[in-house]
Amino acid sequence: MKKEVVAMLLAGGQGSRLYALTSHVAKPAVPFGGKYRIIDFPLSNCVNSGIDTVGVLTQYRPLELNSYIGNGQPWDLDRSDGGVHILPPYQREGEQGTWYKGTANAIYQNIGFLDLYDPDYVVILSGDHIYKMDYSDMVDQHKRTQADCTISVLEVTLEEAKRFGIMNAHPDGQVYEFEEKPQHPKSTLASMGIYVFTWSKLRKYLIDDEANPDSSNDFGKNIIPNMLGAGEKLMTYRFDGYWKDVGTIDSLWDANMDMLAPRSSIDLRDNEWPIYARTPIRPPHVTGPDAKLSHSLVTGGCRVDGSVENSVLFHSVTVEEGAEVEYSILMPGATVKAGAKVSYAIVAEEATVQAQATVGSAPDGSEGWGIAVVAGGVTIGEKAVVAPSAMVREDVKGGEQV
């Protein structure tokens, strides 16, 4: 049935800059903020914006993401008409199937899906940002300005601008130039990777772009410049709320820490714009007689007997007696045994830090300092020491140093 707006969520990326954290799952499935996975943010935004048809384009390690999304019920996206659809690359008659070559190609390969719903507008989203945004407001502006493409932008500093796609726009918001990671930025309006397209226009540009063998089939590199070059109307949409790219270990750690200060980041307790998640069945968390908890998030199924400060604990985490956890992120099922110390670290799902072991340390101003990462399922042996900024992918024997 015809839909006015369909959202397409690009969730196929590996997120290679998250290293060990995405060795088994796609980036959008990485746990975030105690209760969530990254993809919960764009998905919840869709539902809260009244978009009930969402295509999730998957490619890299999709299994966990697929089972997490399931039938879309946690986001009220289990609909008899529309709802959430997982869209992996597929084979067509008479041709060899190909992987999604780029963001634009991923949408190109799903023109058939979009045609099923014959939308007026398509919202393109990515699965690696933490933010709350009303896409319907952006679509409204797109309609009002009769744009062909509307690009959500955020004011950044001149220094940061060098890392983003920068939109140079007239005062009325119409884009006249787009620069990818400019050395000398002319403006500080950074693209957030969120686009609204008039579907009939985008459809044409996708087909043209696909016919060009030299194209890298990417929205930022090809589609946007092509539309600009052809004189289409591209508008910026100003966003000024909290928005964080969580594509690197540091930014993921940072954004998690931001969740401890809801006044300055995202208020997850706000009932007006709830972020939904698939919640595993766990009893409430338990604090022991000597537990110390300060400025931290703790989730169902946790057992805290030690000390936890400035940290985010996902579900089913155990912090034993005498263990100290500070400025760290403990993902679902992580265990910190008695007397162990975890600071400035990310301990991934089901990893274990054995008794008296040390993971990471507070910043000491030295060059090589960074967040220590223990990959999912890994065991750090008794009294072992994991240095700051280490990336541990395999078990560490007791007493060893890495």
Partner: protein
């Protein structure tokens, strides 16, 4: 296992829970931080593979309906079968006051009973906190060739004057059933959870209706101790029954015992409940939390000790909560102090107030009260 049908009674209760059950049926009383009592029996059914469950309600069931919804959180929202809420007046000829007993309740939904697809039925009250291995109960029911299996607990958790007790012979048959005796020293406590065949149930419902008998225990079990083979299933796990405010408080405090939690919240048979997408609980810089069970979505800047907190409780800076049970959405303002208090849903305790009950007489505060 698809040959077992589940029935839960949730039509009223004899329990004397005062303020706590005024706005609701005992079955939808909050318990254990994030649960309602009905979650325990309902999850026990679902974890045994039961796909069809009928819940018999009569009055005060609004909060139960809100909680259960379509049954999707228990995987009971199905094309065939699934969850059925059975209100009174569902059948034209019915329709006088409250059900006088479970047999009358069953007669009230006889049309539903006739359509049960399964050969066996498990029935019981929806207000017991336990994690019953229903699959095992059925297995033993079939192996013993009993007509009726009665689930019993060796640990006396109810008060004799509200509970039923069975005596068992050497061959493992129930030889006597006493209802609300003044003392019950050597007997097993019946949890009033039964497995029997659909056919026997239908026959008994018809017999009881024709003879104006309202109670399964008095009308079916007691007169048929010899003619039917009644066998106990002894449940060794934790059982929490709720017959007074004091009981409710004690059973809540039981959850601070890890052995009780391990049994009740066994990961093999998880207790399911309505998902509310609460964020994680936040502890502020000066928060203290010890020996407590805390659900998601709380915001704690004060002190919590020996307490059970439901979803979305707010404890402001300098507030102290000890030995208390705070239900969903309770707000304890700065500097307030609570001890041996049961605060119902959305209670607000203002700045600096001090509320104190006693372990034998906890102070229960009604839903939506502002102190």
């Amino acid at each position: 296992m698809n040959d077992l049908h589940g029935i839960l009674f949730a039509y009223h209760s004899d329990a004397n829970l005062g303020e706590l059950t005024r706005p609701r049926n005992t079955c939808s009383l909050a318990f254990g931080g994030r649960y309602r009592l009905i979650d325990f029996m309902l999850s026990s059914y679902v974890n045994a593979g039961i796909t069809d469950v009928g819940i018999i309600v009569h009055e005060g069931y609004q909060s139960l309906l809100d909680h259960l919804g379509s049954g999707k959180d228990w995987d009971l929202s199905r094309k065939h079968g699934g969850l059925r809420i059975l209100p009174p007046f569902g059948y034209a000829e019915q329709g006088h006051g409250t059900y006088r007993g479970n047999m009358e309740a069953l007669a009230g939904v006889s049309g539903y009973l006739n359509n049960i697809r399964q050969d066996y039925v498990i029935m019981g009250w929806g207000d017991i906190a336990l994690n019953l291995p229903v699959a095992k109960v059925l297995e033993e029911h079939l192996a013993s060739k009993a007509d009726i299996t009665v689930v019993c607990s060796p640990a006396l958790k109810g008060a004799p004057r509200f509970s039923e007790y069975v005596e068992v012979s050497g061959e493992g048959r129930i030889t006597d059933l006493s209802i609300h005796p003044s003392a019950a020293d050597k007997a097993l406590e019946s949890l009033e959870v039964y497995i029997l065949s659909k056919q026997l149930l239908l026959d008994m419902v018809e017999y009881c209706a024709a003879h104006d008998v309202h109670s399964f225990s008095r009308g079916v079990l007691q007169p048929r101790l010899k003619s039917l083979k009644l066998v106990p299933y002894i449940h060794q796990g934790y059982v929490g029954r709720f017959q007074s405010v004091g009981d409710y408080f004690q059973r809540s405090m039981d959850l601070l015992d890890p052995a009780v939690r391990d049994d009740l919240f066994s990961p093999v048979r998880p207790i399911r409940t309505k998902d509310q997408s609460n964020p994680s609980t936040y502890y502020g810089p000066d928060a203290v939390s010890s020996r407590s069970l805390v659900a998601d979505g709380c915001f704690i800047e004060g002190q919590v000790e020996n307490s059970i907190l439901s979803r979305g409780v707010i404890i402001e800076q300098g507030a102290k909560v000890s030995n208390s049970v705070l239900m969903q959405g309770t707000v304890v303002k700065a500097g307030a102090s609570l001890s041996y208090v049961i605060a119902d849903k959305n209670v607000k305790v203002n700045e600096g107030r001090t509320l104190m009950g006693h372990s034998t007489y906890p102070l229960a505060i009604a839903k939506n009260s502002i102190v």
